[in-house]
Amino acid sequence: MSAATVSNSPSKWLVLPHYAFAAVSFVVLCLLLVFSVDAFGGHYFHPKLLTLTHVAALGWATMIIFGSLYQLLPVVLEVRLYSDRLGMLAFALLSTGTILLSVSFWNFWVGETMHIAACLLFTSFLLFGYNVVQTARQVKKWGVEADFIVTSVVWLVATGFVGLLMALNFQYAFLPKEHLHYLQLHAHLGMAGWFLLLIVGVGSKLIPMFLLSHPENTKGLHLAYYLINGGLVLFAADHLFLQTGYNAIYAALVVAGIGGFLHFVYQAKTFAKRLDIDLGMKQTFVALALLLLPVVLVFVVTLQLDIPQRLMSALYLVYGLSMFFGFVSALILGQTFKTLPFIVWMHSYEDHVGRFKTPLPKDLYSVALLRWQNVAYLVGLIALLAGVLLAEQLVILLGAVLLSVAAVLYASNVFKVLLHKVKDLKPFAYENAGAGNHR
C-alpha cells in the first residue's frame, strides 16, 4: 500500500481575510443596489451599474474565489500551495484595487485613481495566476479539474488586461473601436472564462466529494472544457478581428459545454450515497438551476431578435444580473457554508480531535440564519429581475432590500464562524468505548 503525505493546507491568515472582505463587499453591494434603483431604467453602461458589477465581480466573487481556492487547490490538485506570501500580496492588491475602482466608477473619475486601481487589480491577477500555475506545476496526477483551473486563471489575466486597457482608454482613447465593444469582450471573458471555468473545475471535484459519489465517466467534463474554451476563443477572435456577428454560435458552444458539466453533476447526484443534503448543497443546486437563466438569455441578446429597445436594454441587464446576482452569488452563498466552517474548525480543533469531544463544522454557524438568508436571497433575486424586466422601480427596490437582508444574514453568519472560539472541551470517557464487532 502506498503511504500518504501530511496535510497541504495553507495558513488560515491567508484564507480567512478573503472571506471577511467578501462578506463585507456583499453587504456593500446590496446596499449600493438599494441606492441605484434609478440606474436600471436605461443602458447598462451607467456609473452606478458599473460600480455594482465591479463590486460584485471583484470584491465579492473574485475575492472569495481567491481565498477559497488557496484552501481548495491543495485538495483538488493534491499538492501544497506554491506561496502563501504571494497570496497575501495578491489579497492586498485586490482589496485596495477593488475599493479604488468602485469609488472611481461611482463618481465616474476616469483619471489617475481608476488607472491606479486597474494596475493594482491586474498585478493582483498576475500574482494569483503565477501562484496557481506554479502550484499546478507540482501536480503528479493531472486531471481535467487542473485543466479547468489553470485555464480559468489565464482568462482572468486576459479579462484584467482588457479591463486595464479600457481604464486607460477612458482618458487617452487609443483603442480603435468604441468602449462598449471592449466592454462586451471584457464581461464575457470574465463571466465564462474566469467564473464559469473555475466553478466547473472546482465543482467537478467538490460536488461529488460532498455527495459521497464517484462518477466514473468524466467524458462530459472533457467535452465541457473544449466546448467552453472553443466558444470563448472563437468569440474573442471574432470580436477583436472579424466581427462576423456569429456570436450565437459561440454562445451555443459554451452552453453545450455547460450541458456537459450539468450532466456530470446529474451523474454525481444519481450515484450519491449521501441523501441528507444540507442547506449549503441545496443552495448549490439552486445556483445550478439559476444558471439556466443566463444560458437562455445569452441567445436572446446575441440573436439580434426584433425586440423593442427598452425591453432589449432590460434583457441585457437581467442577463448580467442573472449571472452575478443569480448563479455566482447563489453558489457562493451556499458553498461558503460548506468550506468556511470546515476551515475554521480545522484550525481550531485539529489539536483536540481524538482527545476531546469537539463540535462539528456545521455547529459553527446558525442553520436558522442560513435558511432565512437563502429565502431572502431567492425572493429578492426574483423581485430584482422582475422589477428590471418590468421597469418597476418599487419592485427593484423591494428586491434590493431583500437582497440586503440576505447579505446581512450572510455576513452575520460568516463573522460568527470567523470569530469562533474554542470553549471548555470535555475529554472523551474512553471506558465507554465498549468492545464490539463493527464489521
Binding site: 500500500m1 502506498s2 503511504a3 500518504a4 503525505t5 501530511v6 496535510s7 497541504n8 493546507s9 484552501q71 491543495p74 485538495v75 483538488v76 490538485l77 493534491e78 471535484k205 466529494m209 460532498f210 459521497l212 459519489s213 464517484h214 450515484f271 450515497k273 449521501r274 441523501l275 441528507d276 470546515f342 474548525w345 480545522m346 480543533y349 485539529e350 489539536d351 480531535v353 481524538g354 482527545r355 462539528l360 463544522p361 456545521k362 472523551f428 474512553y430 468505548a433 465498549g434 468492545a435 464490539g436 464487532n437 463493527h438 464489521r439
Partner: protein, 106 residues
C-alpha cells in the same frame, strides 16, 4: 470465544469510532476509512492502516493524530503505528451498513 488479540482489535475499532469525519458527520470506521487494525503481540504494537475520502483532503494530519491520540490513551501499554494509505482507493461503496443508515440511506 474471542481471543485476546481479537478483543483488542475490536476495542481499537470501537475507539476509532469516536473520530468523526467533520464534513460527513459520521465516524471514520463506518465511513470505511479504517482499512486494517493489526496487533503484533510480540512487539506489543498496534498497527492501523487508514485512508481518506480523497488524497488531497486537508484532514490527513488531523485524523492520523486523532487516531494516534485516541489509541494511545486507550492502549497505553501498546506502541501505536498509524499509517495513511491510498491503495486501494476509497470509494463510497466502502461505507458500512451502519454508515449508510447514518447518511439517510435505509
Amino acid at each position: 470465544m474471542k481471543t485476546q488479540e481479537q478483543e483488542i482489535i475490536d476495542e481499537a475499532y470501537e475507539a476509532l469510532k469516536y473520530i468523526i469525519d467533520p464534513e460527513v458527520g459520521i465516524n471514520i470506521v463506518d465511513l470505511g476509512l479504517v482499512y486494517k487494525v493489526k496487533l503484533n503481540e510480540e512487539e506489543e504494537k498496534l498497527k492501523v492502516e487508514l485512508t481518506l475520502t480523497t488524497p488531497g483532503c486537508p484532514m490527513s494530519g488531523t485524523i492520523t493524530t486523532a487516531a494516534r491520540q485516541m489509541l494511545d490513551k486507550r492502549f497505553p501499554n501498546l506502541e501505536i503505528d498509524i499509517e495513511l494509505v491510498w491503495l486501494p482507493q476509497w470509494t463510497p461503496e466502502m461505507i458500512s451498513e451502519e454508515g449508510m443508515r447514518l447518511l439517510g440511506n435505509t
